[in-house]
């Protein structure tokens, strides 16, 4: 494609967008509505992911040592564990501290005095640590379990699994919603482009008569689709960014324990995603409408 052709295609596309008026509006707002809904879902999913990651990273792993492990062995173990790359904040909890933690209620304090004095505290030493990244968790657990002084290892397993399940469900849900929204808006875009193609059929017939290739005929439509998508995404983003605090508040009310967060980097990524989706929608709507150009104008 030469430069002059590109200029021609772009000016054709702009002229056509202007002339199509209402049709352009319908296409752009269809894309915008679809992207707005998609964006809301993406925002929710991204937040959920973010939240889960943090949750996992803050999850404490506790290694219960074999009862009766000598305190100097414990110190050595602590050093060893601190050396692991995947952990941070390693602390040792003595049996006494564990007992105190166990009976925080003042009413239970006397239990400490009665049964669990020096020497007959059945609680083991424990080493607590944080995982730097949720991905390292399985490896770390295996490593700890393999140590002879470690009797058992505990972490927020149940909650963890549940959240992971929830997160997967949310992902599947939003992928489904995005596909459905994508398909239905594609259908609307396809039909409006079909209409504009019909309005321009004379032009297409003439182009074909003078020897235009199908791609030559398609290019202005593709550029139009691109612009439709970009405008739709821009509109959706403006609405989304203005509406985001409101949407967030709604979501927060829905899922109370959630901390919602709208980091700038987050929103930037979302904007890029929406623009790409808009462009894909706009262009594929155009391409779909222009599939059967070979049969076009046969009725001439």
């Amino acid at each position: 494609m030469g430069f002059d052709s590109l200029v021609f295609f772009c000016s054709e596309a702009l002229t056509n967008l202007r002339r199509a008026g209402v049709m352009t509006f319908v296409t752009v707002s269809t894309i915008a509505v679809a992207l707005l809904l998609m964006g809301t879902f993406l925002l929710a999913t991204m937040n959920m992911e973010f939240f889960l990651d943090r949750l996992q990273e803050e999850a404490m792993v506790t290694a219960f040592l074999v009862p009766g492990t000598a305190s100097d062995r414990v110190s050595a173990l602590k050093l060893q564990v601190t050396g692991f790359e995947e952990v941070s904040d390693v602390t040792v909890v003595t049996p006494e501290a564990a007992a105190r933690e166990l009976f925080t209620d003042p009413a239970d304090q006397n239990l400490l005095q009665i049964g669990l004095g020096e020497g007959n505290n059945p609680l083991p030493y424990t080493i607590r640590m944080k995982v730097r990244s949720a991905a390292d968790l399985p490896g770390l657990l295996a490593k700890l379990k393999a140590m002879p002084q470690v009797e058992s290892v505990g972490y927020g397993e149940e909650a963890f699994r549940q959240f992971q399940g929830l997160s997967q469900l949310l992902w599947i849900g939003s992928v489904l919603v995005i596909i459905l929204l994508g398909l239905s808006s594609l259908f609307i875009v396809y039909n409006t482009v079909r209409l504009t193609l019909f309005m321009r059929r004379e032009e297409v017939v003439i182009m074909k008569l003078v020897g235009a290739t199908n791609w030559f005929i398609r290019w202005p439509f593709i550029i139009e689709g691109f612009i439709h998508g970009l405008l739709g995404a821009a509109l959706a983003l403006v609405l989304l960014l203005f509406g985001a605090p409101f949407i967030m508040a709604r979501l927060a009310a829905l899922v109370p324990f959630f901390t919602f967060d709208l980091a700038a980097a987050h929103l930037f990524k979302l904007s890029i995603k929406l623009c790409l989706m808009g462009i894909v929608l706009g262009i594929s709507g155009s391409l779909l409408s222009l599939r059967d150009l070979n049969a076009f104008g046969r009725e001439m």
Partner: protein
């Protein structure tokens, strides 16, 4: 330039528009295609520019078999053809110059070539002073001249025209006809379907007559009569 061997065309509705037509048209020829309404003239022409595909037979245009030609090659075939139809197929929202330029735009010609060729061609058809006007501001004859300009702007090998004077009065028809003769004089093969017996009888060019899809006459320097 054009070769037809035993060409038949049966439309999907069962109408047999062409029936075993064989003929040959050398480069530089001027051919009138005549016959009653429904004889198959338009069908014949549409086969030449590959708007229709024959049901049977072989068609060669400029040495290429256009029956088996893949759809993707058709645009390149048409760039060697100039096509002028009865209803002036002009884009109403574009100026005369833009309409003519279309024939070059499509082949990706650079802007300066387009401008020069459009000017030259509009001078040939005598409309360069109206280059900035829109089709609606022109008379029927002028509109048809714009169509001719668009058809010849990229120097086609063959000019195919279907009743180009059908909607025009005799004087204007003669002007358009003169244009075709000029184009033919410069080496372009011209094939023209027409009902205008005055023109045919006056000019004494090669006449091919179709009746009910059959070739019934092929006569150099012939007349309009087909019975």
């Amino acid at each position: 330039m054009i070769e037809l061997q035993n060409v038949s065309k049966i439309y999907p509705n069962g109408v047999r528009a062409l029936n075993d037509v064989s003929l040959s048209i050398p480069a530089g020829d001027f051919v009138f295609l005549v016959g009653p309404s429904g004889a198959g003239k338009s069908t014949f022409l549409r086969i030449l520019f590959r708007e229709e595909i024959p049901t049977e037979g072989k068609v060669m245009v400029d040495g290429k078999d256009i029956v088996g030609m893949p759809d993707g090659r058709v645009p390149y075939l048409r760039r060697n053809l100039g096509i002028v139809l009865q209803d002036f197929q002009l884009l109403k929202r574009r100026t005369v110059a833009e309409n003519v330029a279309f024939g070059l735009r499509v082949i990706g010609a650079p802007e300066n070539v387009i401008n020069a060729r459009v000017q030259e061609t509009l001078e040939t058809v005598g409309l360069s002073h109206k280059r900035r006007m829109f089709p609606d501001e022109l008379s029927g004859g002028e509109q048809q001249r714009v169509c001719v300009a668009r058809a010849v702007v990229n120097n086609p090998l063959i000019l195919i025209t279907d009743e180009p004077t059908g909607n025009l009065d005799p004087m204007i028809s003669l002007e358009i006809m003169q244009l075709f003769l000029d184009i033919n004089a410069r080496g372009t093969t011209v094939i023209m379907a027409t009902h205008n017996h005055h023109l045919v009888n006056k000019l004494r060019k090669r006449v091919i007559a179709l009746v009910e899809g059959r070739l019934i006459k092929d006569e150099p320097g012939g007349t309009y009569a087909y019975e």
